[in-house]
Symmetry: C2
Subunit: 265 residues, 2 copies
């Protein structure tokens, strides 16, 4: 998912034609699949094949690729190696991106040890935490420093991306430090919405939200399964179990909304 949210606006005037955000996300997926294909010795691949392997429409795939230029050969397909190279260039992977990870607790520790990053051009180069028990230890050969060193270390090592895996309440403060240190792209795992200047890009990964979205679908499927064919009703699971008791009507005696149930005309 993927909420564009804060700060992605405002520069609109200066960004006349860029690659659509949705396409960028897919380009990364294509790139990985191409890597696998290359390992398997594939020389070329058609949009149809690549689309099937990545689960998208082939026309969409071609349009995505067209944003980075025309590197296909009509009648044949795409050269795997050439396409890999162009994708890496377009995604900025030809520059090494040093990553800092703040918060080496439960999730952070796993992220620090996650092989999927370094292997794909994102070496985690710095680790930070506040916990005295963690500061000073090494994880995967990297020293955990105290967060107060964020500014100096990030500047020193040319950190371009920060990953925040702290508890929610600490996240904004850490974020401010990163921004202060010149980091302009942040991946936020903490369950808060970070406030940042316009020029800073924040992406949020919220595991609890992902589960809640799934829960919504579980409920929806349950309804569809139970209710006999009310095809219009894959909406709000107004479950029988729940008779909508005013949570605590005492809070304020306001009528639960007299206009029966929400002014749907």
């Amino acid at each position: 998912m993927t909420l564009p949210q804060a700060g992605s606006e405002g520069v609109a005037a200066r960004v006349p034609r860029s690659i659509p955000e949705a396409s960028v996300a897919r380009l990364a997926v294509y790139l990985r699949m191409l890597g696998e294909l290359a390992e398997q010795g594939a020389d070329t691949v058609s949009s149809e094949e690549l689309a099937a392997a990545t689960g998208v429409n082939s026309a969409k795939l071609r349009k995505d690729l067209s944003y980075i230029g025309s590197y296909g050969i009509r009648g044949v397909g795409y050269s795997v190696s050439a396409l890999v190279h162009q994708l890496e260039r377009a995604l900025g992977l030809n520059h090494r991106q040093a990553v800092a990870l703040i918060g080496v607790g439960n999730l952070g520790h796993a992220l620090a040890g996650y092989g999927g990053f370094g292997g794909r051009g994102f070496p985690v180069t710095a680790l930070f935490d506040v916990d005295p028990d963690l500061v000073g230890i090494h994880i995967n050969g990297i020293l955990v420093e105290h967060v107060r060193a964020i500014g100096d270390t990030c500047r020193e090592r040319g950190i371009t991306i920060g990953m925040i895996a702290t508890p929610g309440p600490a996240a904004q403060g850490i974020c401010d430090m990163l921004v202060e240190a010149g980091v302009r792209c942040i991946l936020n795992f903490a369950p808060v919405v970070l406030q940042v200047p316009d020029e800073v890009e924040v992406r949020k990964v919220d595991l609890a939200v992902e589960l809640q979205i799934l829960a919504f679908h579980v409920a929806r499927k349950r309804l569809v399964a139970e209710s006999p064919e009310t095809e219009a009703s894959l909406a709000v699971p107004a479950t029988d179990v729940d008779v909508v008791p005013p949570p605590d009507a005492q809070t304020n005696g306001h009528p639960v909304n007299s206009t029966l149930n929400g002014g749907m005309r």
Copy 2:
């Protein structure tokens, strides 16, 4: 497309109307923020306040909330407790969702220990792995079972959501087992695109992709910073560092694309 509204009025809360996927994702965010507000003792909250706190447009927020019914009070705002309750109902959180986690390696172990799940109504109820060193141990009081037990255990414990945190190559097989066991919603952390029947819902969380998207923005920002106001050219970062050497021009000497830059404009 505007609300046909089948006649289910009179009774409380029956809103037959599908909620846009994008809205569902935001509803979950609103819900968390409302939880915090409730803790802080807030009685009511206006769309403007809640929108600011969650980083969205207030009109969008109101429209999102309108999908689950009209529970606001004009001139005042929304009752925090009432809204929390309605959101929980709409998201299906009034039913307990048992979660199974497959793959207790690096990332999986962290997910198993992540407090953010159980605390939000998603108790991780079953753990699976293939590694003999892991099968049999307990994590957070939960026994790690062998994946071959997936079918029986999931049915037995009424698992509704599966989280796959295995290495890529193993994911599809695990996925098939889950589907076979009746699980209809899957959160996939493995870097592969899962093939599932239509009735199964899969959400993918791909950390490497998230970083690559950020890397793209890093490159874009770098361009903007370096190039002095070249309005049209921040589409594809054709960086100087990279002179686009045909990775292996031998494949075919096809022209690298004369139409500069993908026929934009």
